[in-house]
């Protein structure tokens, strides 16, 4: 498959009117800017949990997936092992592989561009891209959202980390509660789907029961098994698999990058 032409040329040769592309760009920019602002919370929480400013910034550059970053920082800050922190972070990143399946067909990229597209494959770029009416608009939505979120997210992380560094004792400022609130905010839009809500309740109970029993960090990993069991048990609820980007697109800004 040939590398697709530069975006402007593609827009001109596309049969669809230019409007969907412009609409996609506008939507992408607003989602990108709004999402990037969460990076401030992440940077502050990372430093509050014992990461250096440089380490906080490295999570945004290298992991670049909000939920995974909050998980890594949370488990490390709670005294969990490296393995537990990496496991929690990585399990949350599994959904990005599913997103790659959705965006791959309309991106149609190879080589270096595909390596770059992979790094930008996150909740927001997938949701905005998949929600557009034409392939050209989908590509615009994906790339503009991905690049905007990446830029803003990293700058905001740096700002938040410097801010957190200046604040001192995180508990005095309630930053430990802010971390809990961040996870709840990421979870919130998913609770609308009934099976996901049921899984969340059971996973929360499993984690609560395991905290005093197993090493720090493992309750979170064990809770992932609840999702696996629910997924394997299958169609019992009659609900669709969920998690399609076009459904998520309307859900606003609940997701981290």
């Amino acid at each position: 498959m040939p590398a697709h032409p530069p975006r402007t040329a593609a827009a001109r040769t596309d049969q669809a009117p230019a409007d969907p592309v412009r609409a996609a760009r506008r939507q992408a920019l607003s989602v990108g800017v709004a999402t990037a602002l969460y990076g401030v919370s992440l940077g502050a929480l990372a430093v509050a949990n014992g990461l250096s400013v440089l380490q906080a910034c490295a999570t945004s550059l290298l992991i670049f997936s909000g939920g995974s970053q909050f998980a890594l920082v949370g488990v490390l800050g709670g005294g969990g092992s490296v393995a537990a922190a990496v496991a929690a972070s990585s399990l949350l990143g599994v959904r990005n592989a599913l997103y790659g399946l959705q965006v791959g067909p309309f991106l149609r990229v190879r080589g270096a561009r595909r390596l770059l597209a992979a790094h930008l494959t996150i909740d927001e770029s997938t949701a905005v891209g998949a929600a557009q009416p034409t392939d050209t608009a989908r590509r615009t939505g994906f790339w503009v959202t991905g690049v905007t979120v990446f830029t803003g997210w990293n700058l905001a992380t740096l700002a938040g980390a410097l801010l957190g560094d200046a604040l001192g004792d995180p508990r005095r400022w309630g930053l430990d509660a802010a971390a809990a609130a961040a996870f709840l905010a990421l979870l919130w839009p998913r609770l609308r789907q009934r099976q996901a809500a049921a899984v969340a309740v059971v996973a929360a109970l499993v984690a609560l029961l395991l905290v005093p029993v197993v090493p720090v960090g493992l309750p979170v990993v064990a809770a992932a098994l609840v999702a696996v069991v629910a997924g394997l048990r299958g169609e019992r609820s009659g609900a669709p698999a969920g998690g399609r980007a076009d459904e998520r697109a309307g859900e606003g800004t609940g997701e981290g990058a």
Partner: protein
Amino acid sequence: MSTWVAVLVAGAIAYALKLAGHLVPARLLEHPRARRAGALLPAALLAALVVVQTASDGDRLAVDARLVGLGVAAVALALRAPFLVVIVAAAASAAGVRALTGWG
């Protein structure tokens, strides 16, 4: 040092997962059950993280001002407040409880 190991390894795995979605033949990841489990994974993990971040202190369960912050966050989310407002409201309420009552 171990923090760097965690950051770098988590970064490598995060990228490998993203790339896998672009490289792996769709049929391997598109099995309905695998898809469903993958779609439910974030809800399970995030719920567990909420509990651990709110109610644990190392390997002990603990009830303190964080619970107040989480309650305020839930109210803010129900009122459709933006992410940053939710975070700030949770932090401010927990900090306020600690400053005013000395509890938690």
